[in-house]
Symmetry: C6
Subunit: 248 residues, 6 copies
């Protein structure tokens, strides 16, 4: 199976090569675990090596993200200007008339009418842009809000499968992020973990009063990998993984 | 990224500078953990340094809060008189006719008609007042009651994003407080934690029969920070954080 | 902030003075933890010192309570006769025709029609009696049944706030008791804990096969206090708190 | 407060006397913990001392119970014949036409029509019989099925209060049994525990692979008691409590 | 109380004799714990000693079960031919037209129409066959599917009581199996455990990485028994219980 | 009972022979535990030995799976060409008009119309193909999506029984995979575990910061087996089980 560098040397070591080329994998993590940093590092390192990347942002505006990640020194603006990095602001796929604070909102005890993104429009946009930009790497961050539209498990399952199918049809190497519901190592699995080609977990654990960050490749089809919890840090240049260390 | 002093030296050390300027962060804590003290200390220290602050109170009347926090010696009344601190009593956005104990209440087994605050009116008020007062710091304490109006997760997610957008549009450095649902370090994450730019957790833990207060910067986009649990105390002058100590 | 003696010397030590005068605090505890003993001791000690008290009983008839607490030697009947202690039997605010066992009850698989207390009538009664009796201390024990009338969290939140407002409007120092839902130190917080001015927890824990009673001041706005778990006992004269001891 | 012997010497020691006379207490336990043995021992010892007892059985037919408890040697049949013990078979308060296996049952996917006991009829029966038999001790075993008729907590609360009121109006010393929902020491409290005058818990715990039976007086209003977990056994003559021993 | 041999010597020792004759007890266990082996061993040993047995199978076809248990060497076919063992295939009480895979099934998103067994028809069948065959021992394995027809607890409670009554009316010694919902020793009790005359738990625990099988007599009315967890194994000839050993 | 080699020597040792011939067993595991690898190794080893196998894929397209498992060196394409291995793409049993991203999708807040597989059509297909190909081994991976169509437990129970019946009617040795809901050894059992002839659990546990893979034969009717947790690894040639080792 062909590989692509993740942009994190230690992770590539854990994977005995890198992420699977042309496949879609899932990165799951708790708040602050570094999901966005992870995927941006993936895209930025690919972009620097000449592989155009596409970042689809569902919750945060790209401008703000670029400012947030500025200190890592990846020069995201520069890569964007060179056409090596494209940002899709999926937070803006809204019906124009509905903005809170401007008077024309329907407010009532039952609920605010809030505009929504649809799976179909997102997929069409991703396919179009990745074709136009000859994209090789795609990140969708996070898919949680999309999946909330399908509260019943059978529909969510199928929506996820169709979404993963659509991403794979682009031929790009894709990473999709998802929110961990609970902080526990002993937890309830999320459907996405079963349906993904690969799953990387970003844990934040407390052990003996210490906060420990650990990455775990839970699953990576077709790739023989180290299954252990390995410590990682979010340092000055991004995420650094320590493939030879134990968590405690 | 520009910074603003939190008003807590130890916390600024953990953050390698201070809170992110112009951004909105979340402070989550259990009852008695010091959320209100935290945000008031943030506003008061800014106000003393010439940065006007705005405190939006959703559950407690400002007069009572000022009395409660009097012993810390921040002279909140003085700052208010000098226009350095403004209080919005959001507990009063009610329909005037409905007060319990005065006879005209609809009471029945199904429920009392209780007036409600709306997200839209709150946002408009915050924008207006912060413009009028040239506010630089804003605190909204707590957002829990607002979010309860959106019981379905997709709507709550979008309401939060729009609320955070609205706060950021003021250009102020904002802190929003939220209630921790359970006391456990091993817990279910709240949506706000994923959608915020930064999250500070105020834990109250019991270890070996000792009650221990610990602050943890769970997330702070764009800022390299210490991720560890650090002890803090609510002392005579406010919250004091011990960035070099371990919790146990 | 002015203080009033709690009637428990050890607790006043933990609070560096006593309970906040004119405020409403919450006492939460498991079955048998001593909630009723706590509030009655508070009222009795105040009454002995000339501060009239008002005890509002929602589940248990005052006559029975006085008999139950007789052995502590507080002479509740005597205090009542001197007008220093008043008892409101809120268990009797019922529609007269509905008593089980007397034939005129609607019984069916769907449910028995059981009369109910309303928040409004209770508040009006408390205000009236406290004014008439020049009350300085009030206890409402427990508020659980009142709050069950508001199963939806937003309404419950507002009902609690309005109830606390009403109690504070009397100008009295008030204690409200509430039932802990689970026995665990690691637990789900109750709304009342967030909305109260102060919270005292009465824990019953099992450690190494020993049953241990511990009091914890979880929160007390405006008062610098000891936050630790401290052992207490229900002895011959009432509750005794040991502020210098550790639980284990 | 006057006392009555429980029939278990060790328990009377824990209670510094015995159970409260004329009051209703609750015994809560897991399956096999000995709830029925407990209350029958209470009634039998009272009956032997000349205090007539009344046993109200809701799940099990009295004939079968007497056979089950035969080996303890309390001569329940003899006591019954002397009028010292009366059994109410509350399992028989059914509409006569509905018996499964005899053809006239409505069966369908939605549910079987099963006859039910009502709270009102049970209370009337208890009052009548206890008056006729000059009863001094009453046991109701278990109340669980009665309480299931009130799934909503406010109604259940009031039904329980009215039931306890009705039992206390008989003037007898009463014990009501209830089923523990979970086996854990760390558990969710049941409403009955808050509303009862006293609560005795019969735990079955597993510690280091050993099954340990422990009795705990969680609550006993008006009585100063030992609050610890104390071991007990179901021996040849009934329940034996060891008030001086520790569980492990 | 008269006894019958369980077919497991170690268990008879724990029970100080054997199972209660003419009563119905419950065996609860996790998957693979040996519930079916347990009841078949009970029936087979009785059948060998001349006590005819009746096995009612609700989930598995008798032919397949006999093949599954063949290796224990109980010669179930032989016993059946001699009329010492009868098998009721309760999996076949279905409406004939509904079989999946044969075309006449109603399939849709809402659900498949699946035929069901009714409690009444099962009881009539058991009574009839046990009378015809002069049965002395009965096993019903498992009752779970029957009880699922009564999702509401009050109805389920009564259905169980009526079912146990019906079994006891046959005069046979009966064992009913039930599925443990969770694997934990600290668990939520099932209604059947409270309503049965006796309960034997078959635990599969993991301790220090070892899988341990333990039998526990949780309850056995009228019989003084060992309450401890005792190890058991499923060996070549069936279940073997070690009444003198500790689990770890 | 006749046996078939599992393709994993260590597992055959645990089973004292191999899997039961002609029966259907269940393999349950967490994400990344190797369920698909397990069943494919079972089919591939059988195919190599001349026993034709049938793989029914419900979530992943066969082409992609073959690519994923390529590195194990089982030559799945070769076996397929020789007619020793057949793949059913059950992901394609969809109504043709419904594909997201192509315009004719009904999208709305309520939900996307997503086509579904039916149990009946799947069973008919399996029977037909296994007859045509003289199949001896069948794998269905995973059954989770099928079972989600029956949210009510009684219907799910019967659907599973009918599905297992249908598989057994083929006369093949079958393995069905299922998703573990939670990662805990202390967990809630799934219905399939009770209804299957045999259950193999693939655990991924964290112990002392180490990720440990363990296989456990929870149940295997008719076969005397080792019940312990045994470590396994996913190595270069597939799953390797270590029947003599302890997990820690």
């Amino acid at each position: 199976m062909d590989r692509v560098n993740s942009g994190m040397k230690g992770l590539d070591e854990i994977l005995n090569g890198g992420l699977p080329k042309g496949r879609t994998i899932l990165v799951v993590g708790s708040p602050g675990s570094g999901k966005t940093t992870f995927v941006m590092q993936f895209l930025a390192s690919g972009a620097k090596a000449g592989e155009p990347g596409l970042y689809v942002s569902l919750d945060e505006k790209p401008e703000r993200l670029k400012a947030d990640l500025y200190s890592f020194g990846w020069d995201l603006d520069g890569l964007e200007q060179n056409g090596k990095l494209t940002f899709i602001d999926a937070t803006q796929l809204r019906r124009p008339a509905h903005h809170i604070g401007q008077g024309s909102v329907e407010e009532g005890a039952v609920g605010l009418t809030i505009p929504e993104l649809t799976l179909g429009s997102l997929v069409r946009t991703i396919k179009r842009v990745s074709a136009e930009e000859a994209t090789q790497r795609v990140a969708v961050d996070p898919i949680t809000s999309l999946m909330l539209r399908y509260p019943e498990e059978p529909k969510r399952r199928r929506a996820l499968l169709m979404f993963f199918d659509a991403l794979e049809s682009t031929g790009c190497s894709c990473i999709v992020t998802s929110e961990l519901r609970t902080s526990m190592l002993e937890r309830r699995f999320q459907i996405e973990e079963y349906l993904s080609h690969g799953v990387v977990l970003l844990h934040t654990m407390v052990h003996d009063g210490n906060v420990i960050r650990a990455v775990q490749v839970e699953k990576m089809r077709g790739i023989s990998h180290d299954a252990q919890l390995r410590p990682y840090q979010i340092g000055k240049s991004g995420i650094e993984v320590f493939p030879k260390d134990r968590v405690f």
